[in-house]
Amino acid sequence: MNYLHIDHVSMEFPTPKGPFKALDNVDLRIGKGEFVSLIGHSGCGKSTVLNIVAGLLQATRGGISLDGKEVDSPGPDRGVVFQNHSLAPWLTAYQNVELAVRQVFKGRKTRAEMREWIRHNLALVHMEHAMNKRPDELSGGMKQRVGIARALSIEPKVLLLDEPFGALDALTRAHLQDSLMEIHADLGNTVIMITHDVDEAVLLSDRIVMMTNGPAATVGQVLEIDLERPRDRVALADSSHYNHYRQEVLRFLYEKQRKVEDFPQQQQRRQAGGMVGETRRRTVGAG
C-alpha cells in the first residue's frame, strides 16, 4: 500500500491578499496497480493534488514518494492525461504518440520497435484506424483516446488522469470508461483519476478518495469499492452493492460537504439586508 505516497502535502498560493491555503495536510498511500479516484466539488483542489504528484506544482509542505524515491519535478514515470486532450494540433495522432515514445525510449528501442510500440498503444485505445489524422479531424472522444495512448506509451509508473472524460458526451464517456477498465485489467497500471462523476468513480475505482471543500481542502473520507472485476455497467445498475457505494459518495458530496454557491442575487440581498457575517461556504462535518 505504499507504492505512491502523497506525504502530508500542504499547498499555499501567494495572492495579493496574502497566502491562500488550497490544500491542508493531504495524506494518501496508494498501492501498485490500484485505481484511485479523487472526487470533490469544483475548486476543492483535486487538480492541485494531481499537479503536485505530476511535479508540475511544488508542495509548500510535504512531498511525494514514488516507488521508494522522492519526486519533485515532472518526468515520464508519471504519465498525465489532461482534460483538454493537449495534443499538438500540427501532429497526427501517430506523431503525437511518436513524440513521447521517441523521447522516452531513445537508445532503448530500435526504430522498428518504436513503430511497433506506437501502433500497439494506439490499438489499445482503438485508434489504429485514425492514426494518420490530425487532432482537428478527430472527435473529442477520439482525441482523448490518443491522449491516453500517449500517456500509456511511455510506460509510466503512475497514470494521472485529470477529469479525462469531463468534456465528453455521456455515450462517448461510457465507451471510454469501458476502454479504460479494459486497459487497466490488461496492464495493471497504477491510476489516479480526478472526476466529479459519481458513477464513473464507483464503476472504475478500487478506492474513492473524497475531498472536503476548499480552502484548506483535505481528504474527507476514503471509500473502498469492493466490487468484483471485470465490472459491467449494465449488470451493476441493479446491484445493491453498487448503489450503496454510490449513495455513500452522494451523501458525502451533497450532505456532508454541501457547497452553498453564492448567486449574485443572494449576495445583493445579503448586502442589502446587512447580513455580512454569514459564511460563504458552509462546511459541516469536515474530516
Partner: protein, 330 residues
C-alpha cells in the same frame, strides 16, 4: 490532396468557359476589381491635367504609359550597347593574342548608364539583404524573448522605443558608423549599399521580433506541461512544441517587416545615393525635364506593384509552411 481539390475547383469555371458556358464563369471576382481599376484610371485622367507644376502638367495615364515604353526601350538599347562592348573587347583580345602569344587578355566590365530595370533589381537585392539580416536576428531573438517572461519584460520597453523610429533618423548614424567600421581596400559591397541595407534592417526588425515573441509566448500551457512531463530538451521543445504553434504569428511579423523594409528602402536609397528605385526617383526629380514627372510616376507605380508582389510571395510561403491548411490567410 486538398491542394488538388482546390485547384480543380478553381479550374472548373475555366473549363466551363472553354465549353462556351459563360454563366459558370465567376464574373464577380474578375469584374469588380476591373471596374475599380477603371474608375481609378478615369479619375486620374480627369484630374491630372488640372494640376500644373513647374515641370508642366501632372502626367495622366497616357503619358505614364508612354514613359513605360521609353524606359523599356532605353533598357534594351543599353543592353545592346553592353553586348557590343563585350564583343569588341573579345575581338580585340583575340587580335592581341594572335600578335603576341604572351599577352594576358584584359577583362573590363561595361560601365554604361544604369537603366530603370537595373535599378529595380538593385533595389530588390538591397531589400532582400536587409530583410534577411533582420529576420536572422529577429526570429531567434524573438524565440528567446518569448520563452522567458522576464526577458520579455526586460526587452519590451527597448523594442517599443526603437520601433517607431523613422529610417531618416537612423540614416546619418548608420552612414557614419558604416564609413568608420567598414574600411577595406577591396570592398565586397559599396558603402552606400550597406547603409541602405542596415537602415532597412533596423526598421524592419521590429514587427518580426514582436510577433515571434508573442507567438512563442502564447504556446498552450497544456502543451508546455506535456513537454515537461516528457522532459523534452530545450531544442526539441522549441522545434516540436513552440515553433509550429508560433509559425502563423512569425509570418504575420515577416510580412509586416518586408512591407516596412520595402517602404524604408526607397527613402534610404534617396538619401544614401545608393543605386536603386529611390535614387532613380531622386535623379529624375533633380533632372527636371518635361518627362521627369511621368518617369517618377512610373517608378511610383512599379514600387507599389513590387510591394504587392513581395507580400503575395510571403503569403504563398506562409501557406506552404503552415500546418493549418484550413486557416484563412489574407
Amino acid at each position: 490532396m486538398r491542394l488538388a481539390l482546390t485547384q480543380s475547383d478553381w479550374l472548373q469555371p475555366l473549363r466551363g468557359l472553354a465549353r462556351g458556358d459563360l454563366s459558370a464563369f465567376p464574373w464577380r471576382p474578375v469584374l469588380f476589381p476591373m471596374l475599380g481599376i477603371l474608375a481609378f484610371l478615369l479619375f486620374w485622367a480627369q484630374t491630372a491635367p488640372m494640376i500644373n507644376t513647374s515641370l508642366g502638367q501632372f502626367p495622366g495615364p497616357a503619358q505614364v504609359y508612354e514613359q513605360v515604353g521609353n524606359l523599356w526601350a532605353e533598357h534594351r538599347a543599353e543592353q545592346a550597347r553592353a553586348e557590343e562592348f563585350y564583343q569588341r573587347m573579345a575581338e580585340m583580345n583575340e587580335r592581341r593574342m594572335a600578335a603576341d602569344p604572351d599577352y594576358v587578355p584584359r577583362e573590363r566590365s561595361y560601365s554604361g548608364r544604369t537603366t530603370f530595370i537595373d535599378q529595380i533589381f538593385t533595389s530588390l537585392k538591397t531589400v532582400m539583404m536587409g530583410f534577411a539580416i533582420a529576420s536572422l536576428i529577429a526570429i531567434p531573438l524573438g524565440i528567446v524573448i518569448g520563452l522567458s517572461g522576464g526577458l520579455y519584460q526586460a526587452a519590451n520597453p527597448i523594442i517599443q522605443v526603437l520601433k517607431p523610429i523613422s529610417p531618416l533618423a537612423w540614416l546619418p548614424l548608420v552612414t557614419l558608423v558604416v564609413s568608420a567600421v567598414y574600411v577595406s581596400d577591396n570592398p565586397m559591397f559599396s558603402r552606400s549599399f550597406l547603409v541602405s541595407v542596415f537602415t532597412v534592417t533596423l526598421c524592419s526588425l521590429w514587427p518580426t521580433l514582436i510577433n515571434t515573441a508573442v507567438g512563442v509566448g502564447n504556446t498552450s500551457k497544456d502543451l508546455v506541461n506535456v513537454s515537461s512531463v516528457l522532459r523534452l530538451n530545450w531544442f526539441t521543445h522549441v522545434r516540436r512544441i513552440v515553433l509550429p504553434g508560433a509559425v502563423p504569428m512569425i509570418f504575420t511579423g515577416l510580412r509586416l517587416s518586408l512591407s516596412i523594409g520595402w517602404m524604408v528602402l526607397i527613402a534610404a536609397e534617396m538619401l544614401a545615393q545608393n543605386p536603386g528605385l529611390g535614387k532613380f526617383v531622386w535623379d529624375e526629380f533633380q533632372n527636371g525635364s518635361s518627362q521627369s514627372l511621368s518617369r517618377i510616376m512610373v517608378a511610383v507605380l512599379v514600387i507599389g506593384m513590387i510591394g504587392f508582389v513581395l507580400d503575395r510571395i510571403m503569403l504563398a510561403l506562409q501557406r506552404l509552411v503552415s500546418w493549418d491548411k484550413s486557416a484563412v490567410l489574407r
